[in-house]
Amino acid sequence: MKKTYIYSLLLTTAFTTFTFTACSDDFVEVDPRYEISSGNYFNSEDDYYNALLGTYDILQSTYVNVILGEIASDNTHAGGESATDVIGWQQVDRMEHTPINDNLDDIWDWNFAGVQRASFIIENQDKTDFEGKEQLLAETRFLRAYFNFELVKWFGAIPMKPEGQFVLGDEAIVPRSPVSEVYAYIESDLEYAVERLAVDAPETGRVSKGAAQALLGKVYLYQDKFDEAAPMLNLVISSGKYHLYGTRQGEDYKDLFEYEAENSGESVFEIQYTGVQGAGFECLQCSEGNVMVGFSGIRNYSGPVFESGYGFNLPTEEAYNSFESGDLRRDVTVLDIEAWVSETGASYGIGNTDPVTGHTGYYNRKYLPRINDNEGDANLTQPNNYRAIRYADVLLMAAEALVRGGIDEVLARDYLNQVRERAGLGEVSASGNVLLEAIYRDRRSELMGEGHRFFDLVRTGRAQGTITGFTAPKNNIFPVPLEEIQFSQNTWEQNPDY
């Protein structure tokens, strides 16, 4: 009896001791396995470089800025399978978009994601020193400016936090800064970049000094700061680093948007895509391919040169006819499908037949999918690089700044005529407003299909009357997504008239 009692007591004690001491809460303290956490990062050059790659990555999602910018303009119809296919794009095409628009939300979300990834590096810029850090930081600043510039173009005033990342709760505290402050912020990032970037990018696809100068010149131009825009753009032109493709031996202008002319001497800044990795609809922004290209493709196309796609972003008859006769750019820019079919025997399908948003018989040839062996979903992984800033664009922006700033019409005509000559057109000798109109017209012809038209019309005050359904000042910018207003708990006000 006694023995049992003692034995039991011992056991009870052992049990209690074991339970409440031996196995303490330390048991559950586990670090995630094989994962890097942010507190333990930015310790080496590699860490900064790898985070910079994450920022570059977001550039690929700006495909949507391009295609929707084009649809918003008078250049193209939304297209697609039906009048309700990607309804947000259809609404923008009709200029009937509201704050409830998932596709405008994408532009907000994705470009802010770029800002945020750049800010992640910037807020940790002092953590570790190494040789070449300034170059990496300068690229980071350029990219942040690039995304912020997109945001200010689309939405006007935006919240900003130059010192670092937005944190959960900031959306209810940080107000939308006025457009002028946003531009000052963009300019300061770009000035930092211009000063520190290498003349030649360290690798193909990264930012060069010329790219930063061109973007800064463009940012000045958007603010009508012609006196600053012209010299900045002139720096790019006089650098001797760039030329119009097709003006050198072995080049043919017709190939400018083919694979062989990617990262050519005309590219001041080019967004890189590839088809080697698969992608799916659940995360379009994750694709390494140019989603715009597959979406612009000819529906159910079967034939030479091109691959099939979803039939969005269809140039209008008016756009096709807007080219001067003999302009080589027309057939590089727009594919007349019926002519192509009778020439090659290709077949294709028609989707959306709505007169306002549907089939036109024309496709955006610059960014049509070419036959290649990209991975599935092949509609989402087309490898066509986007020529974000072309030398021709720089010449035309410089010409515009020179004329509108009353600085130098001779130089402006020279720049314009360089572009026209490449297009197989004669020289313009006009001056004053006629010259400016000529620059505007060539700007449309030169850059059609590349996403610039809507913003060019807005910044020059020509959108109303040109774009059907456009009302100024309401449509100068797009509405802030309704959810964003709600997330901010009304810290942010909706843009006027939306």
Binding site: Y5, E96, A172, G376, A378
Partner: protein
Amino acid sequence: MSKALLLFFLLTASFSLGAQTFSVSGNVTDAENNMPLPQVNIVVKGTTKGVVTDFDGNYIIESVSTGDVLVFSYIGFSTREVVLGTQQTVNISLEPNYENLNEIVVVGYGSQVKKEVTGAVSSIGAKTIEDLKPLNAAQALQGTTSGINVTPQGGAPGAEANIRIRGIATNRNNAPLIILDGFQYEGGLNSINPEDIENITVLKDAQAAIYGTIAANGVVLVTTKSGRKNQKPKIQYDAYTGIQETTRKLPVLNATEYAVLLNESYANAGQALPFPDISNLGKGTNWQDEVFRQAPVTNHNLSITGGEEKIHYSLGASHLDQEGIIGGDKADFRRSTARISLNADISEKLSVSTKLFYSRVKRHNINSFSLGSVLFNAANIAPVIDPSTANLDNTISLGNEVVNPLTQIDNTFNEYVTNRLSGTIQATLKYIRNMELQARFGFNTSNSRNREFAPIYNYGAGKIYTRTDNMVTLNKINDNDYTFDLFNTYSNVLADHHKVTFMLGMTAYKQYGEGLGGTRTGVQANSWKFADFNTATGSGDNQTNNSYAYDLRRLSYFTRLQYAFKNKYLFSAMIRRDASTLFAPEHRVAYFPSASAGWVVSEEDFFNDTGAVNFLKLRASYGVLGNDRIPTFGYLSLLNGEATYVLGNDQSLVNGYALGRLANPGIKWEEAKKFDVGLDLQLFDNKIEIIADYYRNVRENLLISNIPVSGILGTGAPGAEGPIVNAGTVENQGLEFAVNYNQTFDNGFNISAGYNIATLHNKATRVNNGTGYYEGGAFSVGQPMPARMEVGKPLGYFYGYRTDGIFQTQDEVETHPSQKALGAEARPGDIRYVDVNGDGVIDAKDRTDLGNPIPKVTMGLNLSLQYKGFDFSAYSFANLGNDIVRNYERDQPNVNKMNYRLNRWTGPGTGNSVPRVTTEPTTNHVFSDFFVEDGSFARIQSITLGYTIPDSFIKKSGLEKFRIYTKVDNVHTFTRYSGYDPTASSGDPIGSGIDYGFYPVPRTYIIGVNLQF
């Protein structure tokens, strides 16, 4: 201690030697089947003298005298008393007792007699599983238990089932905790052989708080069969074979009807007719007939049980082989299981037991329940296309997703194999009187290997499945976990009336594992036969590889006090403390208390024993439970986002690092506050049992993962997502009522019937992310998400446009607010949408509540009859008041249509429900109540008829039992829903009830045998 007792017995015995005594022997049998009953307790009333029967049911009791009363008792049987005369042989049979009040109910870390249970518990026994013979044990809970809804994830072989206990409380994982023989089981009920199960008990209320932070969704306790002491070895073999077929084919148009409608739609848009001559089209291809086929299912099950005095055992093995009604062996399921259960008494104080389970599951899958799935294509492909047309280039254009479903099946190659070993080893030490220490170690280890092959194939230009290179994908996954329990139980009856059970214990749980996978292109001969990395010669960035590892832990302490006074007043209280890896150090620890009480009114003196009421208990419970089923390490900022760009002259991919999910250091567990009041009632000699409950569960601090937050936080980046935030509250409340009737008549006719009904009222009361809602699900292509969690609405309610008939005239169009913002100007024949907010235009702001996928009422009705050798059972259930979204019609002009389109509007006054057909742009395809249907249904789940051959015929063959039966599963479904199957659900709380062409649960005709040796 025991020596003292023995001495006492001996003394008593010697004193009684003086009286005239003799010994009595005999045999005890089960009155129902005349089988001997071992382990029956026999005591001489008023004394402590007693014996038990051996495994042949024999007993001998010494030193009794005339006039003594022998009391025979055995759990599950009515106790009988026999007054001794002078006879020396007493053979008696015991009647099975259906009152069940002495049944033992497992309640987690212990068990309770049913009449003392103070929580809301549902359970089913081996009999129900035997009757239903489900392929997946979870199905046995549907309709047989109140407040538990089981929906299959599809009719594909091996599809798991979603179990929802008392509604849907969280927007993420609503699956209950499964405890298999005491340890946490993450393998899914599908990997358990249903015939190994002795009992499934579901803890529905706060009583589950003993499982703390993992119990908020309810707890399903599965107890498997084990042997019994002193039992003759019993060998059982069961087998069945059957044929499965689809319960429904969609009423699509035949080729001529299709062409007529298509011509009309082209003509309406002023376009050339696609079929100028329809005279030779005939019926064309019936794609429904092409994809569905009859498919076999067979099952074998063998078990051996037995026991000696100190040791008992149970062994089992089974094999299930099921083919799919779509795809045949391209979509099959094979499950082999083996198990062993062994209990041994090492000494009077120490006993050990062990159970081991092995299962191997091998399956093949076809693409189902999504846009572009086989059934989706079978519903949409044009009937004018011949089944042999693999490349659709030269046929009518059907959009990029729709391909030939037969070719799609042919090109599907995959194999998924999971080997799992699970088990538990347990030691129980009764180290001192009234004290019991139990240590238990349970484990699961599973190894999965998946192989998929996508061949080079051209389905036609632009088709999303067209591939120009092939790809093999391999994955090897190892998952493990263990549960270590240590708990001590004190139980005693103090001062005759105070029954006390006190338990104190701890559990350590660890889940760990790793996965390795990759892809290669350039597989030799474009063939499944060579689908391995070894024979793949591709190069480039599609040669990928990836791996991961995880280690999650939880440490818990708990204690429970159960107290009963005179069996009348019952009380139970418990508290559990959990610490979990899932939360930041400052939020790591949580406490979960609960209490319950019961009053057995029928034990009161004032209660009239002789009335109709045999037993009445009132009970109530309240407690707080937790849920931590969320993605791991949500409190940390990890660099696991995607950071891939293209650099260099060779345009190659470069990978960096970027932040993944937005961190939220403040996350903590969800809290479920559960309240329940109920009553248990037995009437008319316990023939009728009634259980009724009212419950109200409030789930607070709902963990919403990937919660939408402002885009400025960067959550739109590749690989990034919204944080996990405790941001919601959901309420579920309802009534449950179950009545069971069981009676055996004198002629041996036995009837048992059960009916249960449960109501459910579900709504979100808080969504705290600024917008007040959270979206999910998908409808058609490129349309906004159709389902929402929103304050004041049921979880996952459907959100879209309300319709108001069809515009009959241009006049009507013009007097109605413009619908242009939806994509096109309306024309006569188009759907008229309601201007819900009355602002004079129809736009996104007019979207409103179109119904919800949660049934308001669920019920079950079950009947079983036995007479002589015949047995019959029928099980049925019904869901009422839920809605389903019809989402298997591709919004494309040339795809095939359902036959309701024949009733389209063709001119003023020709119809007010189905819009005109046209290839013109219309807004008739935006998500509206036109696509929402009543999903209510009643289903006859199973009907069985069996016959047991009388003993006299089989005795000589050595058989003890020989039963043959025939059974039909999924006999018929009564519903107005027009899709394949009204049980269609993805199981996602937000986005469930959206039907992309649900793989229907097959109807199965089975014949089977049960043999016992």
